[in-house]
Symmetry: C2
Subunit: 396 residues, 2 copies
């Protein structure tokens, strides 16, 4: 009696994740993993965290440990309103809601919008966590074309002409998995296209604060405020383990997202929200962010330099000015999964890129490399190892 | 452009909650609310909370703020294994998973099991939060009969004979809304019935630690371990704002629940899980629980005494030995919603009982009264006011 017969239809289509299987070996001792997607623990503001907890307990007392509104903890909503205004997004505190990580918003968006078979438009490649949030609601994915500068606007326009699309999902800045950023002129075109088609865009923006070079590019939300669900998180600029995401969205959508959240987790941890409110209100983010950037910038540089030095020249790296990942595309015919298994024998892991595509026959020759978790020397050695494996694979 | 046209079919059936509307006035100044369902802030272990945060930061350092496994934070899983063994439930640490409140489990259970139109069996009345977790997946509710001693086993047997039931949902101990507890002999019958029918029971057990009198009754999970998803929470014995629930379930169901949680919120706050692990490991729950019981026991007594003294004798209160609620049933013909509005004028609020029924024409003459949030004197006065309103209503 295993109750398999009781599973819902949606469960049978979800299946076990192939990437989970392939990445199981990554935590073996001695393995250098460029496969993860997690911030360096050195990026957390550990020196002030004890002080923050003391302040919160003193300031809010039992209020920080009590049930709170589904909408969010008001002092955090107030601080996020200020943060968003610095990003050029106008939202009153009560127009910003808190979620349990940005994952919580992606699940809620899917829950209120996707009926089985509904179409949603995603980049190729796209963020895997979004796919695992959307899958249980059984959408049909319509893939949009991308290049080194992210989504190609014409591809979006064509798709919105040809299909009824429930929503478009984009990570426009330092995308996961590619590290790419959609430049301003494309953002303006994308904004015009979604306004023209009365389309809804879910703009996922976890990384934009992690810029190591180049010019700041405003979010699409600033260009088409009435058409965008803007989703962000404190995971990369405070601490991911606290599970703090937030969003602001067109009124009706926002209200449904809150209602749905009530059935999913009632509300996000009050204590953690209070810690974040204090982190922002005390100016600690502003103080601490340069430390995070100083930590990651040389790692990204080390990886870019090593790729240029060690990878065969047919393996091209997408330009990237921030975030946590680099994306490499090998020449046609290369099977990056083969390279993955050969590299594993030499104790280096990454993620073969095909897992980030909704069409399983795409991306065979691509790879995602994470640079936040290793030091520069380790990154250099690991990339050299990968380069050696690529050489062997190519000229055998 | 409000995007109403984009809402999924499930969203249209969810609708705004009538109880939300009716309870909007409850937070008015001067209102005595017996309507809530939240623990008294005096029940939180505030005197040790600063020490707990210091210990956790020292012990786990950045590990308490990093991403963690979806399954749960291992030190908490270990502590919960001990807690469950004290409740007679055998579960290894890795067979216990953590959720963002028990609400998170109810959502996940519904997500993996309910296809539109599937039948699930619920008590009449039942816990409202469960209904709001289940509703988005569009089940059909099959109501089971209850009396002062909770679910009537024969009713369950009949329903399992006549219907294909995906799962049964029960709060067997100090139920919300009724405060009732299913006695041991009925639990044994229920266990036999679900084993006989190879049925799956979701046993929601948030309150069993809050016993003010009478004998401990073991969970149904101990009687039919292979048929029960056992769900519990630290909200009532630690702090609800930390959003910490947990569950143990038949293997296949448990694995799917974890997989689904990955798409919903990746994992529950690491820091909060570490705080709970420390709370349990340090023996603080054992030390602190008597304080919680000493706080609530006189409140429950005060309410029971006041009901006996002030309510017309036709208004009967269900026996209850613990939890947070008392349940009163008036004589046929009484419209408790009318009494609600009259009581509001006199600044006393409660929840009319009909909101806890899945059939909207049931429970017209019932009410739920919460006693955790007010002091004994206030409870006495409020019940007197309600008694006066009932008298007026009945003999006008």
């Amino acid at each position: 009696m295993d109750f398999k017969n009781l599973l819902a239809e949606r469960t049978s289509v979800m299946g076990a994740s192939a990437i989970r299987e392939i990445l199981k070996v990554v935590s073996q001792p001695g393995m250098v993993s460029l496969a993860g997607g997690i911030p360096a623990p050195q990026s957390f503001p550990m020196s002030i965290i004890k002080g923050l907890t003391e302040k919160v307990i003193k300031k809010y007392s039992s209020g920080a440990f009590q049930y709170d509104l589904t909408e969010g903890f008001m002092p955090l909503q107030e601080q996020l309103s200020i943060l968003l205004s610095q990003r050029g997004i106008k939202a009153e505190p009560d127009e910003i809601n808190i979620s349990s990580g940005s994952q919580g918003v992606l699940d809620a968006v899917a829950k209120i919008l996707i009926s089985k078979g509904d179409k949603i438009a995603v980049e190729a490649p796209t963020y895997l966590g979004a796919i695992s949030a959307f899958n249980p609601y059984q959408p049909k994915y319509i893939r949009m074309d991308t290049d080194d500068y992210g989504l190609i606007p014409k591809s979006l326009d064509k798709i919105l002409l040809e299909h009824e699309i429930k929503f478009i999902y984009l990570v426009p800045t330092f995308q996961n998995p590619t590290g790419r950023t959609i430049p301003m002129n494309r953002r303006e075109q994308i904004a015009q296209i979604i306004i023209k088609h009365k389309a809804l865009l879910v703009e996922d923006d976890p990384y934009s604060a992690l810029r190591y070079k180049g010019e700041y590019v405003p979010s699409i939300k600033t260009l088409a405020p009435l058409n965008v669900v803007y989703v962000s998180t404190l995971s990369k600029i405070f601490a991911p383990g606290l599970r703090l995401g937030f969003f602001t969205a067109p009124e009706l959508i926002r209200k449904w997202l809150v209602l749905v959240k009530q059935g999913t987790d009632l509300h996000t941890s009050t204590f953690n929200q209070a810690l974040a409110a204090e982190y922002l209100e005390g100016g600690y983010l502003k103080q601490h962010l340069p430390t995070i950037l100083d930590l990651y910038k040389p790692k990204q540089e080390a990886m870019l330099n090593a790729i240029n030095r060690y990878f065969p020249k047919e393996f091209k790296c997408s330009p990237s000015e921030g975030g946590m990942f680099l994306w490499v595309e090998g020449p046609k015919g290369v099977d990056m999964e083969k390279i993955y298994f050969k590299a594993l024998e030499k104790k280096v892991a990454f993620v073969p890129g095909r897992f980030f595509y909704t069409n399983s026959n795409e991306g065979i020759e691509t790879m995602r490399l994470n640079y936040t978790m290793s030091d520069e020397k380790t990154i250099d050695n690991a990339i050299k190892t990968l380069g050696d494996v690529m050489q062997e694979e190519q000229y055998r």
